[in-house]
Symmetry: C2
DNA sequence: TTCGTTTTGATTGCATGCAATATAGTCCTT
DNA sequence: AAGGACTATATTGCATGCAATCAAAACGAA
């Protein structure tokens, strides 16, 4: 059993991402503390962290609410992702990641494709986040991961895969494979282009549905 | 008198930016609370916030330390700035800011040039941060400000102007004026280019000295 | 002396109680 | 009945005490 703050953080985070705590709903400290069997202090700290993650908004003397996303928010997020992630991919390719990192990325692709064939979209989303996180980390820029968490963990982003049809899903998987290939080849321009296409495809999908 | 947490946040932040709390030094909760005449709770919350701002690093059961910047950190930061700020400038130009915003930016340029002629570099740094923040806000992307705080408030960044000679200083001021002109003209490519030059000039300066 | 162990001191992590503030409901005035 | 001031309740903000954990000094064995 780790720290109570982390327990609270993970729990509330999961509530938000899974939709249990719906957008706009209040997150009372006392109520959450009761539910989780903790005191208000670690809950409060967790809400603060979620606030800086951009998952909840905390107003002075008014508590925390789950943030509500608009189409504008999505546009903003995808603009930033299509700026930062291609950069991260290019950097990662330039660094020529060691073989074990490449193997790990391939492994993640395998797992994802298995999850797709099993129709487990929740797991696909989870693995996708992990894949992008790995790639961002491979960029070597130690500030990028923290910067991107605020735009990567939006509930609607995480749930993107539910909207994909078979063609879009297979295209997305191919993008991932191609990214690893570009990294293995050490070709920054290739990696950057694939990533940009990957992000813009996702943006187009969300734009079409919503 | 606002909230105690804010008081603590501002105080510690100022300690770090002014150099009173030197890089690598420990920030004990009890000690700070004593100094500021508060309890540990708001101090702790402030340190947490400063942690997500990237100004301090908090380790489990080991407390908070002022982060130490390496040349690598500076490179990383300037790479991200030269990616995001030109984008922000382009977006701002595309949005064609209202006249009062442009007036405000001009006013900030005036104040900055006065501060330069008075040799008040602390004030120059402060006004420069404000100018960049205004421009980033004018981009219309509501996520950019929070994203960039983590890379804008590094102590070494804030202190950049102390290193500038007369030519570099005047070039920097000219960049600011030119940025406002590009915004007024509604020319995204112009604004983007000037901002990129502005950032890279700053990076070159820091690279040369350090 | 040097390495590993133990103990001690200090500091963070968490729980709880009280004070400050906001929201909602009630009452009074017009 | 409508509007505004006031009161009541619920919730956050802050202080403080205790428990858990870590770093370092003291100790003992090789």
């Amino acid at each position: 059993m780790g720290r109570a703050t982390d327990t609270a953080y993970d729990a509330v985070r999961q509530m938000i991402l899974s939709g249990t705590a719906e957008a706009g709903s209040r997150l009372g400290e006392a109520e959450l503390a009761e539910t989780l069997g903790l005191s208000r202090t670690p809950v409060r700290e967790a809400l603060q962290r979620l606030g800086s993650d951009g998952l909840v908004e905390v107003l002075p003397h008014r508590g925390a609410r789950v943030v509500q996303w608009t189409r504008e928010d999505l546009e903003e997020i995808f603009e930033l992702r299509s700026l930062l992630e291609p950069y991260a991919a290019a950097r990662a390719a330039k660094l020529a990641p060691p073989q074990n990192v490449l193997d790990d990325l391939h492994e993640q692709c395998d797992a994802m494709e298995r999850a797709v064939s099993e129709g487990d979209f929740g797991r696909v989303a989870q693995l996708n986040s992990a894949f992008h996180a790995s790639l961002i980390e491979a960029s070597g820029n130690r500030r990028l991961p923290a910067m991107l968490t605020s735009v990567m963990h939006a509930p609607l982003i995480v749930g993107t895969f539910r909207r994909y049809d078979a063609d879009e899903m297979s295209r997305s998987m191919n993008h991932h494979r191609e990214l690893v290939a570009a990294l293995a080849a050490g070709d920054p321009a290739w990696a950057e282009s694939v990533m940009r296409a990957h992000i813009r495809a996702a943006a187009a999908n969300l734009r079409g549905e919503r």
